[in-house]
């Protein structure tokens, strides 16, 4: 069972308390974008086997959206962080590097 710590209320929430929200840090495209950009924004996904960044909502708790860094192969959680950011914070990236040297995800490493 997956357990994530909500960065707002500090609760260690197990997965039935949470709602998954899919891949994190998507760049939004709208009117005026090319077909390719719009396709990638809506459908193309990293879907990595390993380090992944996701959106989650503390649905049956404080109700807020947050981010999680997680390994999709082992379910190991590297950390959670607030939603108000367009990239994983340095501390989270360092925590991942300590455990998965050489990892990359989109333009981050």
């Amino acid at each position: 069972m997956l357990i994530l710590t909500c960065p707002y209320c500090g609760v260690d929430a197990e997965e039935t308390e949470l709602a998954p929200g899919g891949e994190a840090h998507l760049k939004r495209f709208g009117p005026g974008a090319s077909d390719e950009e719009f396709r990638d924004y809506l459908f193309a996904r990293e879907n990595p086997k390993g380090v992944h960044f996701e959106r989650w909502r503390h649905a049956h708790g404080c109700g807020k959206w947050f981010h999680a860094a997680r390994c999709t192969m082992t379910l190991e959680v590297f950390g959670t962080y607030p939603a108000q950011t367009t990239k994983p914070p340095k501390a989270i990236r360092e925590a991942i590097t300590a455990k998965r040297p050489g990892w990359t995800w989109r333009e981050f490493e």
Binding site: M1, A19, R39, L42, R45, E46, K49, M73
Partner: protein, 414 residues
């Protein structure tokens, strides 16, 4: 290859059944093949089989990182049906169901196809409208399905509880020639037939890289060395994203865990397949007497082939309401598989941005039923560059907005 028959059983009995040969060879990889298929699941093996059978292309290798049929093909709950909504889906799923009818004869291998009938229960007004619409669509597509009343449901499934407190059964979509087959046997039957045509099925051989030159595929790197090819078919279900990454493109696919469980064996009590999509559960009885049970998929990306307890609880809770008599059954085993989900719940059978690389994926929670039809279409796509069965399922549809929306027909799953 020795043909299997009643006569062969009698003949082999004379030597106390010590004379049966292996069903397929275990060859060393050759340096080059015309076509390499990555993934010896049902879809990969069926693709290879119809490449040989329909197009005479037999210089083919199927590379498998584990053991053949050890992916979702050997982990699924084996429901076969073709009552989807959209025309391209009806075409490929019904082609597939029809091929299942004679698959044992065609492969000379008993895949135990059992067209016992499949009911999809309608338990909300919304579902009633949805399934009536599907029945009409199926009539136009030439797929034989029927909207049936609660009384007829009860007649077909005496153990069902029609008037559960939350979700009474309001009717059902019935496909009399849907059913089940033995999942391992489908993989084994195709593998044996491929091997007999001279194809190499190479197990314990993981593809680790896709070699390209000037936008064209040259071959693959594997844990057993580099192998060249003219064309490459990627047929790896949950690992499609990993292979696409090796070939340098991205897919509209998310991999999630889907699980199933079986009960202790009991006397025969239900001779059809029942799916209850609103409450997220479905059940059939295996020939061994076990109740085979499945439910919804996990909601987040996952490669762990495990599943989670709360999904088991959710599924079992729903099924106990629908089938009160199973409440004291013990569950024997539970397992998971990694399924490849697309946004429109339809598969992808397509060329890719790399010349010579073709991909077959996105079957998600419901591709066992599609193995023969998908292999048939995929072989044509690889051999000729297009196929009437697969053209609508190309990757372009996500750019062009040409979705094949099966979120209702795929429902919970399967």
């Amino acid at each position: 290859m020795k043909r299997y028959s009643a006569f062969a059983v009698a003949r082999e009995a004379l030597s106390y059944h010590t004379g049966w040969g292996r069903a397929w060879r275990a060859p060393e990889p050759k340096p080059r093949y015309d076509v390499i298929i990555v993934g010896a699941g049902g879809h990969g093996l069926a693709t290879a089989y119809y490449l040989g059978k329909n197009f005479g292309i037999t210089n083919v290798a199927v590379l498998e990182k584990g053991w053949l049929g050890g992916g979702n093909t050997g982990r699924n709950t084996t429901i076969i049906r073709s009552n989807y909504l959209q025309d391209p889906s009806a075409a490929i799923y019904e082609k597939s169901r029809a091929l299942y009818e004679n698959l044992s004869q065609d492969l000379n291998y008993n895949v135990m196809f059992s067209p016992r009938g499949v009911i999809m229960l309608a338990q909300t007004e919304h579902e009633v409208r949805g399934y009536r619409r599907t029945a009409h669509a199926n009539a136009l597509q030439g797929v034989t399905t029927e909207w049936i009343s609660p009384a007829r449901v009860k007649e077909l499934v005496p153990i069902i509880n029609l008037d559960g407190p939350r979700y009474p059964v309001l009717g059902g979509l019935w496909q009399a020639r849907g059913g089940t087959a033995r999942h391992d046997a489908v993989a084994w039957g195709y593998a044996r037939a491929c091997s007999a045509m001279g194809m190499d099925i190479i197990q314990q051989c993981e593809v680790t890289g896709v070699r390209r030159e000037g936008g064209k595929v040259m071959g693959v790197d594997t844990t057993r060395g580099a192998i060249d090819c003219d064309k490459l078919g990627i047929v790896v279900a949950g690992h499609s994203g990993v292979l696409a990454d090796m070939a340098g493109f991205r897919l509209p696919i998310e991999s999630v865990a889907l699980q199933a469980l079986v009960s202790e064996p009991i006397k025969p009590c239900m001779d059809v397949v029942v799916m209850a999509n609103t409450v997220h559960g479905y059940m059939s009885q295996s020939d061994k007497g076990e109740m085979v049970i499945g439910g919804g998929a996990d909601g987040y990306n996952n490669y762990t082939q495990r599943g989670s307890f709360h999904h088991v609880e959710e599924t079992v809770r729903a099924l106990i309401e629908t089938f009160p008599m199973i409440s004291r059954l013990k569950m024997l085993r539970q397992w998971g598989g990694i399924v490849d989900m697309t946004g429109d719940r339809s598969p992808i059978l397509s060329k890719t941005p790399v010349e010579g690389v073709f991909i077959n994926c996105g079957w998600g929670t419901g591709g066992f039923k599609a193995i023969p039809g998908s292999g048939w279409g995929m072989a044509e796509l690889i051999a000729k560059g297009h196929s009437p069965l697969t053209d609508a399922f190309s990757l372009d549809r996500f750019k062009e907005g040409r979705f094949i929306d099966e979120s209702v027909a795929a429902g919970v799953a399967h």
